[in-house]
Subunit: 450 residues, 3 copies
């Protein structure tokens, strides 16, 4: 019991939801151990695992390629990294945890006194039992991360630092997968894949999108074309944008997803536009499924929505998370591990995205063919039996709302917004009323309501 | 003391208000005992009583007449209805209370065991001392309503059921009364008359509108034409609409009124438009007279505003009530009787509607003839004496507001909204300033501000 | 310590602010003792003191000149005024406090019994130790004001009243000072100068504007032309308006200032327009410097914004005060003295006005030259060092906001509003980004954003 805080309002069956949570979790667990970075084999290994689920394309962008104001960085590989004390004992070892090395560190092999070494070591004095996550993409330096409690045990003396890493010309790698819809209007779903062993902050997003893509691939072709991007943060989305600039005007909706597995939030940050269809659809999805959610206005700090929403593109792309980045204590530490994410939380995140896709796919604008007064629902068998329960009353209200607002100026999403009735009830009512011959499509010539 | 919660803010004299409350109550009491339904002699008897106050027209719509998606129903008459137990004692008797019969029941004369009989009996287990009100318009069946505490006394055994009722081709009846104004722009006021012995939920509305109509008839012709409709719920308003479709574009304002006599609310539900003049005028009337009021957005469930506001008509008609339907425990029970409604509550409801009519009648758009700086009010005797009290200060503020906003773009209603000053004070100030030659009518060629 | 409640958010140096507070206070103290009225030598003496700071022009408007609906009043002079009891002892004496005489009183020399005299005496029974401030501009009468506790000591008997005053044809006097900017678009700053010995309610405003004008004169020419008006309330602003009607369309922004020295508020009352640039700029200035401030909608009662915002002019002029007029117990009494105003409060008022001027002067609309994705700030040295503090993070966010919103449709003020970032941080970030070649002026041909 209590497996799902919103159990009463679920629109997916419990078995579907449980299956989704379990499978997304298993996939996240499979990619968690890999040491990813913005480039390198960790990225390719991750994409290879995802490829077992969906036939995604791996795109390689050569080092040095101009990506708007940026250039594709060098590849980074790392094999070994440790610090030994003067007794030859390893006091930090990359082999033990990916986070021990500052990500994208330069190679090094030096002996140095503790005082100098300390300048290369990052800890979290206020969370002494956690290893921080640090990167050094744009400087030629190196560093280690460790638990503050371990750091405090280090004694003065000479230490040996060894980092068998390499930065070299190669390529930046990202993954892309497309489900062709019956139209070429697109829904973009994007997750970052540049973080090593952080479960919520990148494994959960990749796993959820992969599961979703596999599931949608198995179904009938959707109305929209769905494009899934798995790319390193910032530079990866810039690479995709630079190679797809001519098709950006096909994107009607988009979500960046991350941190899908913790029990916080949900949190939605609106697109720069703020009133895009995706912003409205997410607001309704959260109202219907997770009214405890927080919706934030756009701000230019976060994940790849920063790039998608830069003024030169201004795409209708929002950010969907459970806990907002930077607000939970496990963020960017070794505590963002496989214990931190839970199948039931992944399941609700998946359900919310499915619901938004339902809105995007099923929104239409009905025209009432019997608009003068209410049509007599009783003789059409559309009213529930006398003394109906709360659910029956809700469904009857949905019928009345759809009839009242089907003046050809309100889409189903408009109706869900104005009525306070769930989108699913509005959609069901519209289907029944259309079936009874009371509604037709007001925009028969314009099937997409972008 | 404490006769009127808003005593300080009243704009009608106490004697006028007291008289209104007493007369409306007396009329409601007179029509309360009649067993109305959607058709039949109960409706005609009610209209005959109202005709003693105002010369309303009774309209008969033959059974079977097409009314948009509906047809005019058969007439219903009932003479006798009871259930006897196996000792021949009447355990329920329509002669005792109109609510004992399910309204519009088919005739019946049968002997049946308790088990079968129970399926035809409606009670309120959570309000065991009240008789519920139930109807069965659109099925060929019958039923009785009784106190749950009485129902629980019934013993197993054989019962005799007798209903001397009839459904037969005849007509649907409604009443209509028009006060011709100096223009043909209309204000529609509509009350339902299909409920038997329910005092708040239909007697109060009919009585209030009748009193109002009689009172307005005695005065000078208003600017608008006022149309009063007394009709059975749903089917009655559809009948009126179907016979008056060509004149609907004359309706500038409308109110459905019901439940005018309890001490709750007041409650106003906006028209479908939501920003119609009537919606704004009701908001100001309630702010000025009953700031404890609740204003709700339109929803397609309620009284005949459902029909007036269906998308094919979309008339500017709101719903005015004291307690909102369905929210008070007496609703649709035998407790909605003459003890439940009170003259003082009817008086405030009347006062609010009068106030809205004042707004509709007296709104205009002034143009300041001395718009550069404030005109010198002192030498025109428009400022109160030095050291004026609170009321004098309010009136002086009203003068300043009218002068400041009389740029030809603000009507008095606009000014009342923006200033927070009562409409009556704004109207009084405008009158004084016009008298002093400081204002003229900015829309002299367009007298109505629809 | 605690010298300034908003110390952390100050954008002026502490020494500048302290100097401003001290100098404004000293000037207010210098003009406090003068017995001003709507006309007469008190006005001229006050302007003469201000002229030692700024070369303002004194304008004389002859008595009887038509000023829209008004005429310029007679001059008033007063030399002596007292009441003696029957022992020849002065019980009230204008020489002791300017407020003892009702301002603009007619001359008088009479003996009268206490009963008649009492009709000419004003007191504050609820504030028995304070002398009220009263005026009698538009009637031919006279009066005295005194402490209620002193009034209660007066005994029956014959009193001698002597008022050596005069109303005579002369002129109405006001002061005007202009700082020419690089454009002729104007910012109007207006203070009233008609109140005798009231420190907050007129000395503080005159002193603050004079200090500001002197300071701005010493700097580089601003973009706007700044016009300072020191005029008697109502009639003085009407005089200025009537003589400057042809140039009113040059006024892009305006503030009436008064009550700048108490510790309340701050309070801003919007212009009649309500969404003028000045209204938005004041809202941001108060948000950034004094978030405890109250912002009120326009109402047509107050100071000279009543005239500037009359419908025939409708200028974008708001009212800036600390405590709102009429809301503090010292208002219009002898307690509005030099102890009531404090340098630190004057300093914050000055700082807020300077900030608004910064917004008006420095607002522009940037266009991002690298709008596709974020430009790489690191290689341009625009990002702070790793591990920056809170201030560094705020400045980095300001950079991101400016880049994101610099689509040619957002001015800096728009950005400050949308981002929640202070205008100064937005302006600083814009300057840095422009310096780095990332921004150009989107409205190069339209430098003013009126």
């Amino acid at each position: 019991m209590n497996a799902h805080p919103m159990a009463e309002r679920r629109f997916r069956s419990k078995s579907d939801t449980d299956a989704a949570g379990a499978k997304i979790y298993a996939l996240a667990a499979e990619i968690y151990p890999i040491c990813r970075s913005i480039t390198g084999d960790g990225v390719r290994q991750t994409l290879d695992i995802l490829k077992r689920q969906i036939p995604l394309e791996t795109v390689e962008v050569p080092t040095g390629t101009q990506l708007f104001d940026w250039t594709a960085p060098q590849e980074w590989s790392i094999r070994e990294a440790w610090i030994k004390n003067d007794q030859g004992i390893k006091v930090v070892d990359f082999a033990v945890h990916n986070l021990h090395i500052v990500n994208y560190s330069m190679p090094a092999h030096r002996f140095m006194e503790f005082e100098e070494l300390a300048g290369h070591i990052h800890t979290l004095p206020e969370q002494p039992d956690l290893i921080p996550y640090r990167t050094i993409y744009y400087a030629e330096n190196w560093g280690f991360c460790m638990r503050h409690q371990d750091f405090e045990q280090l004694k003065p003396g000479t230490y040996e630092v060894f980092i068998d890493a390499e930065r070299f010309p190669g390529s930046l790698t990202y993954g892309e997968y497309v489900i062709k819809g019956t139209t070429d209007r697109e829904f973009l779903l994007s997750a970052h894949l540049c973080h090593p062993s952080l479960a919520n902050d990148n494994c959960s997003g990749m796993a959820l999108l992969t599961y979703l893509a596999r599931q949608m691939t198995a179904g009938a072709p959707p109305r929209h074309t769905y494009r899934f991007i798995f790319a390193p943060g910032t530079i990866g989305s810039l690479a995709w944008l630079s190679r797809n600039e001519s098709r950006l005007d096909q994107i009607d909706h988009g979500l960046v997803v991350s941190c899908m597995g913790d029990g916080g939030g949900p949190t939605y940050k609106r697109s720069r536009n703020g009133k895009a269809f995706i912003d409205r659809a997410m607001a309704i999805a959260l109202r219907d499924l997770a009214p405890e959610a927080t919706i934030l206005d756009f701000s230019p700090y976060g994940y790849d929505e920063r790039q998608y929403c830069s003024p030169g593109f201004n795409l209708p792309v929002g950010l969907f998370q459970r806990s907002l980045f930077g607000t939970f204590p496990e963020y960017h530490t070794s505590a963002d591990n496989l214990d931190f994410i839970r199948p039931k939380h992944l399941a609700l995140s998946w359900e919310i995205i499915r619901y938004v896709i339902d809105i995007v796919e099923n929104d239409w604008t009905p025209l009432n063919l019997s608009p003068k007064g209410e049509p007599q629902l009783g003789r059409r068998g559309l009213y529930g039996a006398m003394g109906g329960d709360k659910r029956t009353a809700e469904q009857a209200m949905a019928l009345l709302w759809v009839l009242n607002l089907s003046d050809g100026k309100h889409s189903l999403l408009d109706m869900a917004e104005r009525s306070g009735t769930s989108f699913q009830d509005i959609a069901d009512a519209s289907r029944r009323l259309k079936g009874a011959g009371l509604l037709v499509d007001a925009r028969a010539l314009a099937p997409l309501d972008a």
